[in-house]
């Protein structure tokens, strides 16, 4: 007796946009993560709109009055607005300083992450796709670099390069690329052996096309997770380096520099100059990390069954 095997469980082909829509729905399941996303969005708006919403342009010396220096939070300024978060020694409104600082901190974090992502992902793809020599050279360099803490690598680079906006971005990119290279390579090694890549080969597509149009889109999920967390790392690292006086110059007052400036006044009880920029930094980083945590749960294929 022969029974024809019945194709019992043939699932209908899923609609094209389903994975992303499902990811979004999964993401929204965590209230914390949604809260993080809302806060981060607000922070980004503030950063972009800083010149429009700040009570004062903190770097226009004509608007500063030295008599307003070191005012406690809530004091009225001589220009007629309230120092909600106090003022620094030169009479600069801390709230405005923080808005402008967020701009620079976010800019540095996002740009360096994007550049590192592009470089790292390309190298990682190349390593997985080319194999052999190319792979062992790229991955060996990444391994060696990752065996040193990020702050040390950045310190070495900045000791060599000197201060500046461009230089700190170079340092942050150098620190980060290896994470992306590793992540992409690990995923691409698995993807490379799948049938669709074979099919693409069979169609005679170019190597570049297969790498970037076929392999890369399938390596995106872990990449997004790593990139989210890395933005937070980059922002923290930049703030730390600027605090130490080897990151951004005083002409680019990021949050780290604001905190550093308040350090000397803290011992005399003027806590607000360091405290509030730190809170702004903390809120930004925590909200990014909350999003990153949830993204990891949503996009991690090992958890999806």
């Amino acid at each position: 007796m022969t029974t024809v095997p019945q194709p019992v469980a043939v699932a209908p082909p899923p609609p094209v946009e389903a994975p992303w829509r499902r990811a979004l729905a999964d993401f929204c399941r965590s209230r914390l993560a949604v809260g993080g996303a809302v806060v981060l969005f607000a922070v980004m708006i503030i950063a972009v709109a800083a010149p429009l919403i700040s009570p004062q342009d903190p770097y226009d010396l004509r608007q500063l009055d030295i008599l307003d220096g070191g005012q406690a939070p809530g004091t009225m300024s001589s220009a007629g607005f309230v120092f909600w978060l106090g003022s620094d020694d030169q009479g600069r409104d801390m709230l405005s300083g923080i808005f402008y600082g967020l701009r620079i901190s976010l800019l540095v974090g996002v740009i360096s992450t994007c550049v590192a992502l592009v470089i790292g992902a390309t190298l990682g793809l190349l390593a997985a796709y080319a194999g052999r020599r190319v792979e062992s050279v790229i991955m060996r360099v990444a391994d060696i670099q990752l065996s040193f803490p990020a702050i040390l690598v950045a310190l070495i680079l900045l000791a060599v390069l000197g201060q500046g906006l461009f230089k700190i971005i170079v340092a942050l990119v150098t620190v980060q690329w290896a994470y992306y290279a590793r992540t992409v390579r690990a995923t691409a090694l698995v993807e490379r052996r799948k049938d669709y890549v074979l099919a693409a080969h069979g169609l005679g597509l170019s190597h570049a096309r297969i790498m970037f149009h076929h392999l890369l889109p399938n390596c995106l999920s872990p990449l997004i997770v790593v990139a989210t967390v890395q933005v937070a790392h980059a922002i923290t690292l930049e703030a730390t380096l600027s605090f130490l006086g080897i990151g951004l110059p005083v002409t680019e007052p990021s949050l780290g520099l604001l905190i550093a400036r308040g350090y000397e006044y803290m011992l005399s009880g003027k806590y607000w100059i360091s405290f509030f920029p730190g809170v702004a930094l903390l809120v930004t980083i925590v909200s990014i990390n909350l999003i990153g945590d949830q993204l990891r749960d949503v996009l991690n294929p090992r958890l999806q069954t």
Partner: protein
């Protein structure tokens, strides 16, 4: 094993060479230390003499060869600022940094393992949730800002603990340490706590993950079925298995604690290597910058190697091999 160690040491030598070359050339490019070091009113002749005395008149490659030759004989050049051998300067400052890093690691382990074990044992208890929320905060808080806040609360507002310096030191077994005097202990508490924060969060997370991973395993069920007390199962059987990833991470993190000490030392004016390097970068004290980086990179190479070996001793399932073999 021997082949593995030899290969790793060879790799380390290459890393050190490349690093010294990059740093040497790079530091050479960032500015002329003569401008910083010589009094502005010095005349031409004095300038010339100083440049020759510092060896800055020779071409770059010759300076590098002189440096390399010196480095092989343990001489990394004299500090421009202090005018004593750079290596000696760094080695003088090293005990303070190691003491701080060691105290931080002890704090992280002593607080982190019990908290992590509890959070892993009762994942749904309110205290566990609080512990995990705290650890997320520990990851997110910028170290330097926490340091400032610690100073603000405990040194400025409450006045309980001093905020700068090492305090009184005493000599124990030939090492000057702050850990041996009351005053020294008071001085080290805040910086060590600050430095420990990140590691503490990491230890909590790893311990919790280890607990949750190990508890449902067969050997735990077997040990329980054998009639062992819960305490013995957890503190002996499970604990041993949690230790494996912990040792690696704590070992590897010891390196980054030393690197991160740069930040903590700058905040608390702790007279260690980290403060020295920041001061030297600002003063363009080239020999000290180069020497510091070489010393720290060497330390890292040793730490990484020791951790790898230790790992294979703790967990016989791990076979030592280079990364090439994986994939």
């Amino acid at each position: 094993m021997t082949a593995f160690i030899i290969r790793r040491l060879g790799q380390a030598v290459i890393v050190l060479l490349v690093m010294s070359l990059i740093v040497f050339v790079g530091v050479y490019l960032i500015g002329n230390p003569v401008e910083v070091l010589i009094a502005p009113d010095a005349d031409q002749l004095e300038r010339e003499r100083a440049i020759i005395a510092l060896g800055l008149d020779k071409p770059l490659w010759e300076q590098y060869l002189v440096f390399l030759h010196g480095a092989l004989t343990g001489n990394l050049g004299n500090s421009f600022v202090f005018n004593i051998p750079a290596l000696q300067l760094i080695l003088q400052r090293m005990p303070a940094t190691l003491e701080l890093a060691f105290s931080a690691a002890v704090l992280a382990v002593a607080i982190g393992i019990p908290l992590g074990m509890y959070a892993g044992y009762r994942p749904d208890a309110p205290l566990s949730r609080a512990i995990m929320a705290g650890s997320i905060l520990g990851f997110s808080l910028p170290t330097f800002w926490v340091g400032l806040m610690l100073i603000m609360v405990f040194a400025v507002d409450l006045g309980w603990l001093p905020s700068t310096g090492r305090g009184a030191t005493a000599t124990v077994l030939g090492i000057r340490t702050s850990l041996a005097t009351r005053d020294g202990l008071a001085h080290i508490l805040l910086p060590a706590l600050n430095l420990a924060l990140f590691q503490l969060s990491l230890v909590i997370r790893l311990t919790r993950a280890g607990m949750r991973e190990n508890l449902p395993m067969d050997y735990v069920k077997f040990a329980r079925a054998k009639g062992l007390t819960a305490r013995r199962v957890i503190f002996v059987h499970v604990f041993k298995n949690i230790l494996i990833p912990l040792v690696t991470v704590i070992g590897l993190e010891l390196g980054s604690v030393i690197a991160f000490a740069v930040v903590t030392e700058s905040i608390f004016a702790w007279p260690g290597m980290g403060k020295l390097i920041i001061d030297s970068i600002n003063r363009l004290d080239r020999p000290v910058i180069v020497a510091y980086l070489l010393v720290v990179v060497s330390m890292f190479v040793v730490i990484n190697l020791v951790v790898d070996i230790l790992y294979s001793v703790l967990d016989p399932r791990v076979r030592l091999s280079d990364t090439q073999a994986e994939s």
